[in-house]
Amino acid sequence: MSETRDRRLLLWSGAVLTIVVIITGLALVQIEPEDETKINQTAVTLPFSHEVHTQKAEIDCLFCHSSALRAPQATLPSLNKCMICHSSITVEDDNARQNIEQLKQAYENGWRVQWPDVYRQPDFVYFSHRAHVNNGVSCQKCHGDVQNMTLVEKVVDMDMGFCLDCHQEQPEADIPRLIDCATCHK
């Protein structure tokens, strides 16, 4: 009788000790809080339709994303660029007019438009739009039929396999350079 009690006591004390140790161990682990820098500017979100701009207004991709030819980043246009047209253009659709109204408001008050990130490369990947656009890779190759999308949707998973599939289909002389790790990872 006493022996079973002893055993139970030991088991319980063991279990309690274990839990205590786990908790202390976890407490020792210092997980740093996320750096939540508050954005002081007022930000607005706007539904931007690529379809309307490319099909109806017949604007070229490179008009707005003009850095794609010259720099690694394609860049998003500034509100100034939007206003080149939108300061004069009128539209019939009520919904659209409201949105444009909001755009103008943001422009006048210096607000920031928060465009959503659709595609995002991790920070150890260096993708150069210049290299691709200059070598005749169409925007649609990676971004899908953007001209037919109202809101841009993610059509491909831009993982390493996606990049490599295309790189390995290039002329044989270029492949060693294109599959070299340092081409994208620096």
């Binding site: 260096y126 200059n134 350079r177 990872h185 620096k186």
Partner: protein
């Protein structure tokens, strides 16, 4: 002609090196190398892709200080490469240099052990860039996480950018167009960088210099860094 598209080579003229460490700082700034602090330095964990090693020659009073800037030697037969289980470090057939892919690294540190030049640095902790250092991080270079090996890359981001520009302009890279941060910062021009494949480049001419030698040449690693032996001029 070598088997590489470019054979990037560095010439370090020890006669010109004054040990001023400008290259060290330039490298630190260009490549997002964290400042680890006194305690870590004391433990031998300083992070410098390029460091000036100093040694003394002779007995007092006839004593001389010698300096040798030491960085990854970009060996042709790099001992660090085959030992990595995940190909995180390999030999680029494009640039003829030894590349470290940070995000592929799992941190076995095998490469660092096998490097006879002790040129590889390990991120013992997550890097800290306290204000205002965070404002000068180079966007072209990955900030390395803890547990990752890193080392001198011959400023590959500059090499690749120059190449892209040259390609966009439809020409080949000009001699002297690419300069790593250390070479750019060196006040005495002791560090010369260029393509050994180009017979007319400055490095090609200097590589033939009689003063030239490579570090631990007897190991057969065939470094891409060529030192020019120092003479009497750097007596302090």
């Amino acid at each position: 002609m070598s088997k590489y598209e470019h054979h990037w080579t560095m010439i370090v003229d020890l006669d010109k090196c004054t040990g001023c460490q400008a290259c060290v700082i330039a490298c630190q700034a260009e490549n997002n190398i964290p400042v680890v602090g006194e305690d870590e330095i004391r433990k031998g964990r300083g992070m410098q892709w390029l460091r000036i090693e100093r040694y003394w020659e002779g007995e007092y009073p006839n004593i001389r200080a010698r300096f040798i800037p030491l960085m990854c030697q970009q060996c042709e037969n790099a001992p660090c490469e085959p030992v990595c289980p995940v190909f995180a470090t390999y030999h680029s057939e494009v640039d003829g240099i030894n590349v470290q892919v940070y995000n592929r690294c799992i941190g076995t540190r095998y490469c660092a052990n096998n490097c006879p030049y002790i040129a590889r640095m390990f991120n013992w902790f997550d890097p800290q860039f306290p204000e205002p250092l965070n404002e000068q991080l180079n966007p072209d270079v990955t900030v390395r996480q803890r547990g990752i090996m890193e080392k001198c890359t011959f400023c590959i981001q500059r090499i690749r950018r120059a190449r892209e520009t040259a390609e966009a302009e439809g020409r080949s890279i000009r001699d002297g167009e690419v300069q790593p941060a250390c070479g750019q910062a060196c006040p005495t021009n002791a560090i010369i960088f260029g393509d050994l494949n180009d017979p007319n480049s400055q490095v090609s001419r200097l590589a033939a210099n009689r003063r030239g030698f490579r570090l631990l040449e007897e190991l057969g690693t065939e470094p891409a860094v060529i030192y020019l032996k120092g003479g009497e001029s750097n007596v302090i």
